[in-house]
Symmetry: C2
């Protein structure tokens, strides 16, 4: 990696918001980190780029930390100059979380990737923040247990905690919030705090774990996490069934949940998504709203669950109930769901997607999707819809030509209308992607001025100099 002399010309000139490190600070960091400090343009640019539509904003330096002590050192050093510190997992944010809008130092956790402990007797594991969900599950391969939270990307556990991430099996196993036992965090003064014990429950004071879970790097840096594990079910079954309408598909899932059917996954793809999948994978699925279901348990249990599900689906006009127990058959059935995102992107060559993340109460979901699809049609947008139906969470992939400013603005306008609609239906602007830069201006609509004032008070209490990921979540 490059030497200090190659630090790119500061972009602070004329930008009062930018708080870049001094040459002294960089030198100090380099003495500790050596070639684990990078100021190469490529590395800076990579660390100022995420999966959102925002133009990259590079930090001034990137540090590859290897321990909580490293992180504490960085924080103390940067705090002395009020230099921003931005945590970086794998860069899979879709809301601009990691853009260095005020410059500063990016702390890359990819070298903190040790699984520190696996405790089958407690159904927990403790990992360094940079361990990805894939790495953790690989480490668990022989144990009979797995870590459940599965966002689209192979995200780092630290990043998943920071955005309160979730995924397709949240309907059964919960979100990151439900699966985090404790955290090790570095505070604004460089102190190391463990947010809770390893007990499964506690009433011992304010819930620091849940305060940091979803804080998006704005209250401190998460360096370790203890997470819950779940036993693999004895058997797994998959099912796919299409419906005459989104409402019929959604009502099928709600009825199953009301009856206590322990669905392991319940994903809905709308007709346009199925069309995209058919084009992408040369399949010939019926181009209707379609549920992709998964069941887990003993063989007898899942057969009973599937039978109940089939009856419910039938009563809502569902088509043929395709069902599979064997691994290869399950994989075949679910392949369209796994390919949905990339298949959708190929509906229009060269497009990128603005991905929305509304989440509403279950009873409002069908109506909210109906209104959203009417909005898509009325504005002539190309926007497949799919969702984690059991959570009330759905994503629209609004496909735009990245070079076409008016298309981008139309997509943003749609996103604004969708957020307003989700809030009218009693929901939230973001079910699992987080606030980042992109949802900040919706927070007052969702929580009221008073709610955001409370959040701001929390930010100011824990990060009085606004060094942790400044300009995200709440404006100071």
């Amino acid at each position: 990696m490059e030497a200090v002399a190659t630090i790119p010309a500061r972009t602070t000139a004329g930008d009062p918001a930018r708080r870049s490190p001094s040459a002294d600070l960089i030198a100090r960091l380099q003495r500790r980190f050596g070639d684990r400090l990078s100021t190469s343009r490529a590395v800076l640019l990579q660390h100022g780029t995420d999966e959102s539509a925002y133009a990259p904003q590079a930090p001034d330096a990137v540090l590859f930390v290897q321990s909580t002590d490293d992180v504490a050192f960085v924080v103390r050093a940067c705090a002395a100059e009020r230099v921003p510190i931005i945590g970086f997992g794998v860069g899979s944010s879709v809301e601009g979380h990691l853009l260095a809008v005020q410059g500063g130092v990016c702390v890359d956790f990819s070298q903190m990737n040790k699984v520190l402990a696996v405790r089958p007797g407690d159904l927990t594991a403790t990992v360094e923040a940079g361990v990805t969900r894939g790495q953790l599950n690989a480490a668990l391969a022989e144990t009979g247990f797995f870590f459940s939270v599965d966002p689209g990307a192979d995200a780092s556990i630290g990043g998943m905690v920071a955005t309160a991430a979730s995924g397709t099996n949240t309907v059964r196993y919960g979100t990151m919030r439900d699966n985090v036992v404790n955290l090790t965090v570095v505070t604004a003064t460089g102190e190391v705090v463990r947010t809770a014990s390893r007990a499964r429950k506690s009433s011992a004071g304010y819930n620091l774990t849940q305060l940091y879970c979803g804080s998006e790097g704005t209250l401190g840096l998460i360096t370790e996490a203890t997470v819950r594990l779940h036993p693999h079910p004895e058997a797994v079954a998959a099912a796919v069934v299409h419906f005459p309408s989104v409402r019929a598909a959604v009502d099928t899932v709600i009825e199953a949940i009301q009856l206590g059917v322990p669905l392991a996954r319940a994903e809905m793809l709308d007709a346009l998504t199925i069309r995209a999948v058919n084009a992408h994978s040369r399949t010939s699925l019926s181009e209707n709203p379609t549920l992709f279901l998964e069941f887990g348990g003993t063989k007898e249990q899942i057969e009973a669950q599937a039978e109940v599900m089939r009856e419910i689906a039938d009563s809502h006009g569902g088509g043929a109930f395709e069902w599979a127990l064997r691994q290869e058959e399950r994989t075949r059935l679910w392949t369209p769901r796994h390919h949905a995102y990339f298949a959708c992107l190929q509906l229009k060559a060269g497009s990128r997607s603005l991905t929305t993340d509304a989440c509403v109460p279950l009873s409002e979901l069908a109506q909210c999707i109906d209104e959203t699809q009417a909005d898509i049609d009325a504005h002539g947008l190309l926007a497949p819809v799919f969702g984690h139906v059991g959570d009330g969470n759905f994503h629209c992939l609004v496909l735009v030509d990245p070079a076409d400013a008016s298309q981008n603005e139309e997509a943003e306008a749609f996103s604004r209308r969708l957020v307003a609609r989700a809030l009218r239906h009693g929901g939230t602007s973001t079910g699992e992607h987080g606030v980042g830069l992109h949802k900040m201006h919706y927070l007052e609509d969702e929580h009221g001025r008073e709610g955001v004032a409370l959040m701001r008070a929390l930010k100011q209490a824990l990060d009085p100099d606004n060094i942790f990921n400044p300009g995200k979540v709440v404006a100071i």
Copy 2:
């Protein structure tokens, strides 16, 4: 109720910590609340008394609020004079939560007892904070759904949120933390904040819901809560089985959880508790550590679960596996568990109990209980032990003569040793009872000075004048 003129002589004389309301403030409150303001000695005393061993400490006035607006009015009025405000549900705290250690106004929520909405389609209900769990479940009787959290007392939902309460079916349905969707809270400036939407999950900013859940009235007053509901299982079964040792009983439950058996309840009573029950109920249960189990699901599922459980119990030396499906039989099997608390109190006539609340990781539970029973024996204490084994949470009822100071001090010394032991085993001082007054001096041992400093910063940020339940959780 009595008129203002009957306010008892202030106890503030010479007590600089006491911050009692002025006569002006009382008059102002009385203009709004009329006879819903009480200063009768009996009412004050009742509201300064809980189920802990602490001597009562009465507030200066009690207000029976009927709306969130009422609460906001009280907070604004009291804030102007920095007069303490203490929320009161049913008074079932066991840790001194509601003692008016600095005087002030007690806000009694018993008249805020309306179930505001039941939404079967969302599996949620919204209630005023004074609704008790019994009242809510009565309101749900015809719906097919129930509210799961079941501490010993028929506590108010607001109180249960405030202490992050749990109970016997946490092993299946989670604690209050897992079952609260959003809260309406009144902040220190008298603003009304809804902490979250009604969506099942959200990543929209800091988790205010979980910050208030477990805050014990020290950050604001909770006036409404939206909680999760669960469908009644189709069938329920109960089982009772005794074991040669605590370890064998605990290991049986851990193995079942590792295998994914969805236990609905898993309670352990130790041999002394069984002896107390036998004496109390004239039964002749084998005086051994005994598991009380519950299963829920379809009839086939629970039979399969019970069969697995029977095998696991057998492999750990369990005795006869008594099992029942029918309601009356189930009730008969579980009666010893329901009577345990009162049966234990009667082991020694005229005694009261200091009740501990340690919670440790599952794998540490048997060892921690073994060491605790050895401690009980070594110190000649009379202390039955029972616990929510699936959560790693157990209670010791240390029986003492309330008039005997040395017995009380011995019990407190035992409690201190137990907390230290629980922390050594990776656990917490309190699984479900909260901090109150009683556990404050253990918080630093559990969270470190830095962790408690964070909590103190949160308290100061949200309650800068320390008006909400001062002197609890963290000292300011």
